[in-house]
């Protein structure tokens, strides 16, 4: 049985026919839609490397069956920057040395974007670490990641204030 679905990925409408309901969003992005920025780590919801936003909320794409997402809006790491202009979270990860090998970084950044939108952590390092605990970094760049999330939170709040002034 095949399953036609239509979803928006990074602002583009994508119509896909799934031959098999087992396809996860992670595999759909990487294997069918040529978006390999989202990484496969554990493939079981434990490492966070596959984090993307669905309808604005961060989730593990490895545990999400693509067939359930008809009509959904997905943002991946490829959809964050505006041309050559990095998203504030991306820029903060570069400035604060929030990675080493880089494999977990797309998931870390998408998780941070989700966390900041949720608005419960602010710039408190303890709350940021707790809020980012679904993303493992085996290079242990956690110190830089925490600083990057805190910096980006501050910068995005300032930008918002300026925009509304």
């Amino acid at each position: 049985m095949s399953y036609p679905i239509s979803l928006t990925v990074n602002g583009l409408r994508r119509d896909v026919t799934l031959e098999d309901a087992r396809v996860t969003l992670l595999d759909l992005l990487r294997e069918r839609l040529a978006l390999p920025g989202t990484k496969k780590g554990c493939d079981r919801g434990q490492c966070g490397a596959c984090t993307v936003l669905i309808d604005g909320r961060r989730i593990n794409s490895c545990l999400t069956l693509a067939v359930t997402l008809d009509g959904a809006e997905v943002i991946t790491i490829e959809g964050l920057a505006n041309g050559d202009m990095l998203h504030p979270v991306q820029a903060a990860f570069v400035e604060q040395d929030g990675f080493q090998c880089g494999y977990c970084t797309p998931g870390q950044i998408m998780s941070a974007v989700g966390l900041i939108a949720e608005g419960h952590a602010g710039t408190d390092p303890e709350r940021i670490r707790e809020g980012m605990s679904g993303n493992l970094c085996r290079c242990a760049a956690y110190h830089g990641i925490t600083r990057a999330v805190s910096d980006a939170t501050r910068r995005m709040a300032e930008d918002k204030t300026k925009a509304s002034a």
Partner: protein
């Protein structure tokens, strides 16, 4: 993962009509899809219930009780300001479970139905009476340090992993369901079964029966100023409980007028002992009293393997949760929810 048919009904009655032996209802998928990947679960049909109407709301009913729809996501419930104020230990338990990503996906109904973390249940190549009746139990001669100390049987020593269910049990929650036979209410206390000789019969749900909502009684908010959830785990965040405790008190003129205590991580269901609550009534809160209540709560506890440490750990966790509750609900969610570390964990 096995091949399966996928259907997405648009009404509760269509979902129930679509159910057949071997089918599974899909909510957030954080547990079901994971277990389908390991091969521990192999449903022939997956019925996606995430678009069902009318079961994704938090509402106050005319009689003052609170009704939470089965599709409400863990994160939305934990951070709903009115809910968190009325039921702070439920919010704290939710915020202490899993990760931000998983809490955004996981649903209330799915949380009640999440399967044990026993490694032998999750591994389809191991013997497990829960997964395959009569197969035997590899946990009995295997890694058993996180298994049950209460209510276990020779057939199964697995624990229920839910944080949410522990405070819900303490607050007399009721599960609303609908199945082929119609609608009914099941007390959460009767919802999860102890293993006995039939550990595969995990809950009171009949085949095809669907959880619609959880209800908390109006008087469950009375302890909101003195309630805590405390969870001891192998790391501070994103870990299941070794043991946990939900404690809620009502204080009048310096004495305890009502007490609720439930334990997690110790049995196949959240554990509640009325005698432990009763002995605190009319008493002045204090360390000795809470130690005695914890003793009674753990009466009958027996190791099921290399887990004798959990008995004393559970006693201490219960006593400390009661002391934290007596000290008062924190004004805001602790930075490390339900943790033994951090500012809010000291009494």
């Amino acid at each position: 993962m096995n091949l399966f048919d996928y259907i997405r009904p648009t009404s509760v009655s269509d979902a129930i009509a679509a159910w057949q032996p071997g089918a599974a209802y899909l909510g957030g998928g954080t547990n079901l899809v994971d277990l389908m990947k390991t091969g521990a679960l192999r449903p022939g049909t997956v019925i996606d219930i995430t678009r069902l109407p009318g079961v994704d709301r938090i509402e106050t009913l005319p009689n003052g009780s609170t009704r939470i729809g089965t599709l409400v996501r863990n994160s939305d419930l934990a951070h709903d300001p009115d809910f968190a104020m009325a039921f702070p230990m439920v919010a704290e338990a939710l915020a202490s479970g899993a990760s931000g990503q998983l809490r955004n996906a996981a649903t209330l109904g799915g949380n009640l139905l999440q399967r044990t973390r026993c490694a032998y249940f999750q591994d389809p190549h191991s013997a497990c009476n829960r997964r395959f009746p009569g197969a035997g139990c590899d946990a009995r001669n295997g890694d058993s340090d996180n298994h049950a100390i209460l209510g276990w049987s020779d057939a199964c020593t697995a624990t229920n992993p839910s944080d949410l269910c522990v405070p819900l049990m303490a607050l007399d929650a009721v599960v609303e369901t609908q199945g082929p036979q119609g609608k009914r209410d099941i007390a959460l206390a009767d919802f999860h079964h102890l293993p006995g000789a039939a550990p595969h019969q995990e809950t009171a749900l009949e085949p095809g029966e669907l959880i619609l909502a959880i209800r908390l009684p109006a008087n469950a908010t009375a302890s909101r100023h003195n309630s805590r959830y405390l969870k001891v785990r192998e790391r501070t965040s994103f870990a299941f409980a070794l043991v946990s405790a939900a404690a809620a008190l009502q204080l009048e003129n310096g004495r305890i007028s009502a007490a609720c205590l439930a334990l997690g991580g110790v049995a196949a269901k959240p554990w509640r002992v009325p005698a432990a609550e009763k002995l605190m009534l009319g008493q002045i809160p204090g360390a000795d009293l809470f130690r005695r209540a914890a003793e009674v709560a753990l009466e009958g506890a027996v190791p099921s393997g290399d887990n004798g440490f959990k008995i004393d750990l559970a006693r201490r966790t219960a006593a400390r949760a009661l002391a934290l509750a007596a000290a008062g609900t924190p004004a805001q969610m602790p930075a490390l929810p339900a943790s033994v570390f951090g500012e809010s964990a000291h009494v």
